[in-house]
Chain length 275, copies 2
DNA sequence: TATAAAGGTGAATCCGCAC
DNA sequence: AGTGCGGATTCACCTTTAT
């Protein structure tokens, strides 16, 4: 299996997430960050793959769409579990369209939930229908491989670090399960934009919180590789991304090359290494 | 079936939620609010009921506890669905221990998710282990019976109403999916306290948002009946509560009688009826 | 200042099955 | 039968922050 792009601490594979994950050796990663696609079953996205085999044996879903989506989420989550080191952790982001399926699949496949995070987006778009509340947050799940495992958590950096723009974070107190982080500004979109692109600040926080230096990180639905860019900016992390769409592979490569043009890392080292 | 307590717009049934729900006629309620128990399967709480029959046919849960809990949630959620009027809605509250199972069961049984709300608790207890983020929010799911239904939503009151203490709510703008509401203060606990007692302010918001005047509301896990007390304070709502524990039935009755001692309702009528 | 908080960790203990 | 191991449970202790 050949990488579509390979650089120091940063490699990309082009293709189906499940196929490529299955070709990787077990227990390869310290952390997985995944922002899985949703609306698999109805018109919105056509991410159906011929390789998707139905493993859903419950049959009590009244909605075929929900059951199909659940098959998909169970499959990639179990594969991610195989690829994680014993003390590794997984992050999954999503809205209510997919996060309840992912959360249940996570717990059902043996993961032990550590936190669910409400990522509050102060600059989210208003609701136009005026029939529901304005969706202004997204959920992040954080879990370890099983109840007994010992995960990494940089408590000191989370508590004492600098978290620009987060009005919810009281300096010098514990970081809570609600984070206020704006969605990417125009300055982060100069290369073009993936539809669900995450802010670098969000990934910075996730990487610093849950991975030690030299950790290896997998993002099976990499998009424009915000996870990898954030890892490179934090420094001393090994990123592996999988992305099916050539356009986003190219965008990822461009973002990484542009990053390396500027010799100085954008972010300082984790606070905990100096305290 | 006889109510344990009956007053104007407020009645309580004592017993198992599933049993009592099954004895009620279909399409009886405009709204269901439920804060279901969790940790059903392990030692923490002994809420096991001999009546619980395993209907789980999937078998792909690696954890028996997760599968057992899922059986329970599926059963009461399907019963709640039967009891809802066609345009009725359901609210479910929970932490990550149960909310992903509830959310998936909701979607799998045909409900259409309207919102998930992150209820941020600014005064939540700190985390003692220092191994994870401080859990300071709870999730509320809001869904209607199916995709085609037409639900009630008091947009104007949510947008323009007075929401004391919520630093996230910008006056005169749409209400968002993140709410800041403190957990009950001592003044609300004078009668004693249910372990998961919700603040009246939270239920006030839920009732005003999702029920018109004269609506009938069911809370199958009523606890100390915060839902019913809030409904009485909002006014012109019919509350039905189910609670298994005599201690909380008694507490509920006491709260309701004390409320009626004060002749003036605590809250003014919904803003939208006067605007 | 004392208190409360549906807490998390990890070592010790207990239990049940395999050899 | 006795030993050994893995899995499940128990419990003392860790340490924080809003009120």
């Amino acid at each position: 299996m050949e990488a579509a792009y390979q650089a120091k601490g940063f490699r990309l594979f082009k293709g189906d997430a499940l196929d490529i994950m299955r070709a990787m050796p077990a227990e390869s990663f310290d952390m997985v960050f995944a922002d899985p696609p949703y609306f698999l079953s109805n018109g919105g996205f056509s991410v159906h793959s011929g390789k998707r085999v139905s493993v859903h044996k419950g049959g009590w879903d009244k909605s075929r769409g929900v059951a199909d989506d659940m098959d998909f989420h169970r499959a990639w989550i179990e594969e991610a579990r195989r690829l994680l080191k014993p003390n590794g952790t997984i992050w999954i982001s999503g809205t209510y369209h997919s996060i309840y399926q992912c959360g249940y699949a996570l717990q059902a496949s043996g993961f032990h939930m550590l936190n669910d995070i409400a990522w509050f987006k102060p600059n989210a778009a208003p609701n136009l229908s005026c029939r529901v509340f304005t969706a202004s947050h997204e959920t992040l799940l954080w879990a370890r491989k099983d109840k007994k495992a010992r995960h990494y958590f940089d408590y000191a950096t989370m508590k004492n670090g600098d978290w620009p723009g987060d009005k919810m974070k009281n300096p010098g107190t514990q970081m809570r399960s609600v984070w206020a982080v704006n969605t990417p500004k125009q300055s982060e979109k100069t290369h073009g934009k993936h539809p669900t692109q995450k802010p670098l600040e969000l990934l910075r926080r996730i990487i610093l919180a849950s991975t030690p230096p030299s950790a290896s990180i997998l993002d099976p639905f990499a998009g424009s590789s915000t996870t990898g860019i954030a890892a490179a900016m934090v420094g001393d992390r090994h990123f592996t991304g999988i992305e099916k769409n050539k356009k986003y592979i190219d965008l990822s490569i461009k973002r990484h090359r542009d990053l390396n043009k500027s010799p100085m890392p954008t972010w300082s080292a984790p606070l905990s290494t100096t305290v």
